[in-house]
Symmetry: C2
Subunit: 154 residues, 2 copies
Amino acid sequence: MDRETRVTVDDHRALRLWLRLLTCSQLIERHVRSRLRGRFGTTLPRFDLLSQLERHPAGLKMNELSRLLMVTGGNVTGIVDQLVKEGLVERLDDESDRRAWRVRLTRAGDKAFAEMARAHEDWVAELLAGVPRRDSDALMQLLARLKQATLEKS
Amino acid sequence: MDRETRVTVDDHRALRLWLRLLTCSQLIERHVRSRLRGRFGTTLPRFDLLSQLERHPAGLKMNELSRLLMVTGGNVTGIVDQLVKEGLVERLDDESDRRAWRVRLTRAGDKAFAEMARAHEDWVAELLAGVPRRDSDALMQLLARLKQATLEKS
DNA sequence: CCTGAATAGCTCAAGCCTAAAGTATCTGCC
DNA sequence: GGCAGATACTTTAGGCTTGAGCTATTCAGG
């Protein structure tokens, strides 16, 4: 196999890996979305945002949320607006920077999230129940390396 | 470790796997989206639809596209409408079913897609260049099994 | 102190996506 | 043939997401 053919083959390999990754991701995502809607009348983005806030009890600035969720700032604005309206989240003035907010879970938000998180975890565990532990350990490692390699190129 | 604790640990394992999968998928997806927009002024959904049509030169019905792309029918309607307007795709009457269309690439669509596909493959290959062949082979296999296990639960 | 660049956040238009409801057609069964 | 249910597709309302452009604030150098 000459050099050019090899390049092409490797290109295909990368492409097929990406497509398969996407398929797996979408399969799980659709499942979770559908259940979040059906059981809690909410959406994945809202859930993800609450989830980040739950991990950071002191609150997060809008741009920190934006970075963690890997979405644009405008998007975060919209979702936070909704969650504030629903009483799950509050915007506090940032003491040290008058441009910024500190967004935090309200008590109601914390409670609502806890219930959703439990269910969410169950759904995912059930969906992936057929994946043997050996596979999932291996996947965690390989995906960590893939993530690292990708980040270095981004 | 008693049974209940084990369940919880496995739940966390599944959850963490799903989150990592999602992160990897999003990293690549954002990269590709941004380049499709920048270089070709198009979007990933449009590209995916063209890609399916390219694999099926005889054309596909709307519901086949819907199934292959894992999106709803209404969504496919919208994207096909756009691609028709742009002249990349054509809707032909299905001979055997007057409710259905047969959607096909036009010559212009075929040409445009070929160029995008080449670039797309290069982007992905470059982004994943740091993933050793051994890793990517292993990932392909493991993800195939994960996909299978997930499909059986859906 | 001032001023220009950087940063935090918001708004807007446009496109993606879904679920639900609606129309047209097909198919199987009597 | 005719009718009931299934199927193919479209439409609509509502939410997500982006990129671009906007204001207000901060910060660093002169």
